[in-house]
Symmetry: D2
Subunit: 344 residues, 4 copies
Amino acid sequence: MKVGIIGATGYGGLELIRFLHNHPEVGGIELFTSSEEGTIFSSKFGHLLSIHDTPLQKIEVETLASFDFLFTSTPSGVTSELLPPLVDIGPKLIDLSGDYRLKDSSTYEKWYKKAPAPQSIVKKSVYGLTEWNEENIKSASLVANPGCYPTAVLLSVLPLIKERLIDPRYLVIDAKSGVSGAGNKPSQTTHYSEMNENFSIYKVNEHQHIPEIEQAIAMFADSETAITFNTHLVPMTRGILATSYSPVQPGVTNKQLNDCLLDTYKNHPFVRVVQDVSTIGTNRVKGSNYCDVFVQLDERTNRATIVGVIDNLVKGAAGQAIQNMNVQLELPQSLGLDVIPLFI
Amino acid sequence: MKVGIIGATGYGGLELIRFLHNHPEVGGIELFTSSEEGTIFSSKFGHLLSIHDTPLQKIEVETLASFDFLFTSTPSGVTSELLPPLVDIGPKLIDLSGDYRLKDSSTYEKWYKKAPAPQSIVKKSVYGLTEWNEENIKSASLVANPGCYPTAVLLSVLPLIKERLIDPRYLVIDAKSGVSGAGNKPSQTTHYSEMNENFSIYKVNEHQHIPEIEQAIAMFADSETAITFNTHLVPMTRGILATSYSPVQPGVTNKQLNDCLLDTYKNHPFVRVVQDVSTIGTNRVKGSNYCDVFVQLDERTNRATIVGVIDNLVKGAAGQAIQNMNVQLELPQSLGLDVIPLFI
Amino acid sequence: MKVGIIGATGYGGLELIRFLHNHPEVGGIELFTSSEEGTIFSSKFGHLLSIHDTPLQKIEVETLASFDFLFTSTPSGVTSELLPPLVDIGPKLIDLSGDYRLKDSSTYEKWYKKAPAPQSIVKKSVYGLTEWNEENIKSASLVANPGCYPTAVLLSVLPLIKERLIDPRYLVIDAKSGVSGAGNKPSQTTHYSEMNENFSIYKVNEHQHIPEIEQAIAMFADSETAITFNTHLVPMTRGILATSYSPVQPGVTNKQLNDCLLDTYKNHPFVRVVQDVSTIGTNRVKGSNYCDVFVQLDERTNRATIVGVIDNLVKGAAGQAIQNMNVQLELPQSLGLDVIPLFI
Amino acid sequence: MKVGIIGATGYGGLELIRFLHNHPEVGGIELFTSSEEGTIFSSKFGHLLSIHDTPLQKIEVETLASFDFLFTSTPSGVTSELLPPLVDIGPKLIDLSGDYRLKDSSTYEKWYKKAPAPQSIVKKSVYGLTEWNEENIKSASLVANPGCYPTAVLLSVLPLIKERLIDPRYLVIDAKSGVSGAGNKPSQTTHYSEMNENFSIYKVNEHQHIPEIEQAIAMFADSETAITFNTHLVPMTRGILATSYSPVQPGVTNKQLNDCLLDTYKNHPFVRVVQDVSTIGTNRVKGSNYCDVFVQLDERTNRATIVGVIDNLVKGAAGQAIQNMNVQLELPQSLGLDVIPLFI
């Protein structure tokens, strides 16, 4: 099976390479770029020396058409133009950018401040939150892979909203991410000396993942919400931990909350329901495709604290994308992804 | 003026030394300990070589009675027994532990799981949130210096609650702290290889700072609340950033929220109201006694996002303690504390 | 094939689990411990939840005798007593501790300050520096897996000494390691707040890896040396970079030095000769079994700068141990180890 | 006294502000820049909110001429043109860049790859290694403040070379620096996700501080040397630790080495001779002007290990510059600099 990666020089692209390299059904991986054609990949990324010493290739529709799978891991605003000619002409498409996630074009324009993808293609695309949309993903020609924050948030709160155990009208989500989520382009904010030993808040009430989360809550839990969602930058490279707060519905117990999570995910290899809070942390999923979820009822206030933890580059990007490829190929979801988290 | 520090080997103690060393009204600093009597201080803490080469002294009431000021920076459960004999016999007492903060003994017992201090002494003690309690602090024989989290939270939310701009019934506080808040005793959690690159949540809905915050909201803003408050550990040494969420009262504008903070703190040198969120972050206050506060109304949800940022060891401990000493001596609050944050 | 790990709760043990989990020839992994018998492994190490939910087992010779391979990853002074009864009774033994590395008992006693292993067993043991001792490893009943520092140093300097390109009489080795090399036991030195943002030197001229390096230089390059070797602690979790300095023999060129490395390792998948110094760094090998080596002649001083870089827990411990198991099984050396470094 | 800082937006500039702010003899500090004239300083550097809310000023000779002291903290190649018109017309000049350190123009050109400053001005300039050049600094119109690496190296090795205790012909210096030494300009190397958890070597045998160290050894210890000097980047913000290796002269003892350091620095407040290696580390000097030095003889090899530790931004830049200003004003060297290291 022939797989291509467009946007291979970004961190999402590098993680796709890391996992596809060991995927038993993937023959060869070819790397495409918009601007560094001909560069030997390992001369740019020394960790791939002797592993990927091949040159980056130019993005051309004719070349790409011959692939079985194409992963696009590009900044927003790129695949809205790049992918339409490739839909339904051959390769299955899995887009890791935000361009096909929002079904409503005006919402996309408002939050992304960019021109939306053609509505006809957006309509065809399937939201790739694997555990919640497996059937639709199977036959999709274009998968819109979820954002990193939405993955951590949705996997932890969706079951509780769907079962009407929490009241999503007051849902407050406080999310924290490692710096790799900001991508590989240097900036003052991500300059080591200024990022190190600095915890900060950013994009207050303006993050483009807000409408994505609200849309998925409507789609999978049939609930209209206007969430409060804020994002923070943690001085570490990988990991997202999202803490959500919500009043519970009258009479709901801590056991009901936990049972709901356990029931929902009992057959899903990558979502682990954690009971002991002392074993929750981003390093427990580092480098892996796991999402750890946790819920606890505060009986003093009748509010639930709900936690979702992922590696933003794996379950929040490349790992879930490959999980979706496995679903499309009707392979076990964990094929090529069954690695133990690094922990340290 | 003669100043003693009990619990000098903890991080709070070390910060007291760092600032008192340059305080123009402090003659000599003497260091006391319960267990390492006779140890040359700089042999234990190399950064003090040639600065504090004197031995640690034994804690004895007779010796301590001759001091002008005594700072106690000990784990909870120590000063409840240690301080009563010293009250009103000479030295002014400033306690950095939690033993005298909660006015209600049963609340202390419930959250600290320890025997409370004598009620008569607790009654005499004054809560040392400098900006909100200056008059009472002036004449106090025993100051209960606030906790690190409560300082960051209260300075940011109190003005808005007091002015009835936000509705504290739904107050959700999501706090994040550097690891120095866990003290200097090694443990598995704070072992470098397991703490590094790990963001985690701890003491879910059980942190002993919850009743302290609720008590202060009642005391200074005359509001009964049952807050949701959770704490997270950030892989960095210093700093607390607390993000609070609350619905605003009908009709309240973003300008009103900001004006309220600006008015409240216009004559307070250590609280800075930040307008530009991109300059909020723990490194902006690192090593200093500043507390940066920020508020923004989300018009989509009619909820306010409120942020308080401090160096947990300075404004959250040693710095505020010295600020309180200055208040008691009727000196400028910033004497000995007027240092620029390190930033990097 | 049945594999047991003794000392599974240490970082070396955790890495053995991480790699053996995906090794196609390994059926099941069983975990042994001296002190926590019965503990469910994942209750202690949350990252293994749903992966290793089995209990730790007691160390008993009869049980262990039935295994095909036993890896021991224990502090020094343990396997000197534990392994002798297991030699030649069934399982192949791969010892990751320092107990069987030094052929001379008095040298062991001097540097380790512990009683040595029985001389008869030490004599049988084979030093497991895979690239340099493959033939002997193949048939060894007990492999003494090399130390982390020696691996990084030896792979980079041995070819140049063996070919008489550098003069080892003046060999100065300055090595730097991430904190995971200090193991998982909390201490003041490795307490996060004191280790973070702190670069330090330790065990000046006293590291027990000194005689191991000198013995290997004698063994593989037939040179007697008395090296200068110092070790530093870097505020990061994984990685060793060792910088070695040596005068070159008269007339030796930079090209000769590089060609020597390239020739030596041309058929060895895990040693990569790097030409571009800007791609040298511990993150280029992080999480993988690669050792990156680099050499450059300073023509101004006629001295060579020689660099070796590894992940101390992989090529410096668990990875090389599994590489040695592969050698013994006459499998490709990279089986189960062919993972791409994490980089970020 | 009126003090100006040119290059205030760099990390050296920020540290000058941090210390000059509390210097009792400094009235006001004015900030100059080549490119951001008019920018309110605290809008760019949030940590200075309410402290430096004044605008950056344009660099003009007429304006600058009226100052008592001018500190220039600019990249190399700037002050070679900027300072000549300002010499001897009024302000004392302290240049933190490398432009006036090397007495030989061709050496400057070779290592800096830039046009040198006018030879007449270079000749006038005085090398500002305070402890070794106090008399000349006193009357200098232009002080060339030493580089960060040379400061750490020279303070530790100069006494031993001067007293002929070590043989500098084989001097090997392995230096390690925090990332702030690379300045405040973002780059791929210093991008958080790629710098974090990465220890690397850079500028192998090509660092421009090599001739500076050799020149100072000739100047202060009257020894011609060709040193081996390499530099490494540590994933931390502040701090340099330089480890030097040298054979000792026949018969030299460990006590002689230590006594030499103790004698040399007995009246110098900022150089501390450390006896206990376990208290050596960059965090022991963090944020302060101290340089900790250490020496130990390895009797096995007859080589000395010599260590120098500084905060690269303080003793390695801004702190030493202010120390030199104090010398010129015949004030105590520690005025405004007597701060305790942060440690944590």
